[in-house]
Symmetry: C3
Subunit: 185 residues, 3 copies
């Protein structure tokens, strides 16, 4: 009898280990998005999804890269010294949420203005307001350091946001790996 009990106890111990291992592999209640696009419509969608996810109790992480970073530039901040290429990029790319355009039907800015008018009329928050809300809700923003370097964006020209860090692709992958939902926007 004692021998049988010992076998059972060993089996139970083995299963406990398996359970713990499995539990570590199951993804967490987290959303990770890559915000690659810098278009008003797509970035807006990413923030609507992000704030919606927080409201449902999810942890949210947004990784801004490439064109997406433009949205986080503060139009009132000065970037300091840049070389020629950096100045050109800085001048050509939108500076902040207020100056990004629609991906379609921009029509020289008319479509974008029309959309913003509609959003105001329908009480949809503006992109600026959405970013502020995301900050208040604890949405974590990571900014891709390689893109920052490439486009010669400086940290000091980014908006004030409570949870903003600068990192590489490994950080995003680590977060995404543990997230139930991952989206490339």
């Amino acid at each position: 009898m004692a021998a049988e009990l010992e076998v059972i106890e060993q089996q139970i111990a083995a299963m406990k280990e398996q359970l713990a291992e499995l539990s570590g592999r199951v993804q967490e209640n987290k959303l990770s998005t890559v915000v690659f696009s810098g278009d008003l419509d797509r970035v807006l969608a990413s923030f609507i999804i992000a704030t919606g996810a927080v409201a449902m109790g999810m942890e949210v992480v947004m990784f801004f890269t490439f064109w997406g970073i433009s949205v986080l530039r503060d139009k009132n901040k000065n970037a300091g010294e840049k070389d020629l290429m950096g100045k050109m990029f800085g001048a050509m790319l939108p500076k902040g949420a207020g100056s990004v355009k629609l991906s379609k039907m921009n029509m020289g800015g008319m479509g974008t203005t029309m959309m913003k008018t509609l959003m105001k009329k329908k009480n949809v928050a503006s992109l600026d307001q959405m970013i502020e809300l995301a900050g208040e809700l604890g949405v974590q923003i990571y900014v891709c350091e390689m893109s920052m370097d490439l486009m010669e964006f400086k940290r000091e020209e980014m908006i004030d946001y409570p949870n903003m860090s600068f990192c590489g692709v490994a950080k995003f992958l680590e977060e995404a790996m543990h997230s139930k939902i991952q989206l490339f926007i």
Copy 2:
């Protein structure tokens, strides 16, 4: 001996609970897509993936938002009363799967026509046919209410589709959270 058995039974009960909890956290055999784009090529890809997933035994949920909703408009239906902005949007945005364009190489419509000709020649189903097939296969379509409201699209101008509902971002997140695969298209 009886005491030892009791301990074992308690451990088994605890593991059963853990197993049930873990099982609830593991994602289901489901695919959730956000169809944000209204481009012929991207929407087509979303339906090829969706119908392919059903064929593999997956449950499929498509969440149409922003430009994507244009594809679901019925060119033969009338939207009824709209205000000026609504009329403008209604007129400028494509009306249905037959009028959407390629994201690249549209070339004033020539590229889109060329692609459609090629698709017919190669026996690739048209977007209209793909949507019909998806409906027959039980693919669930959700339409983003906020976008509908913003663009002043009316429910009565949408195509007849067996499994179409109107909802908010929370519904998408709930589905995505339980899906093995999530894609933003």
Copy 3:
């Protein structure tokens, strides 16, 4: 006592089965991406994510479809016989990583050239180099057969890459289903 032991053993056997079933449903340490876009910036991002994931010990699978396939064409290879449509597509679409353009700010090629100059200056690998690196790291590339057929691309005009196969959407879904991270780029 023996009867109680038997009950316990049955319970343990049942739990073992559940554990095995659950373990099969938990997603693996794998990344699956759909590379739909053929834009320099987006394809570059997909390779930066892919090689980053390998560096973190993940298995990586990239599924190239539609415009994305252009990137894999070898500019020095000849496709052989094609009909008129095939020739037109072949001529209009970029041929290889060296000829793809930025999705934004291409400005008749100037923006793309500027970006490439910046990348070289900042020691960011070119797309050609990234593809080579991905091959060395064992990243699996799948090419969508339906798109190949549609655009009349031939296998013999594709680049030499160690792990390239041609397949349908079912293959992608199978991989994605077992991957922790899936991205549509």
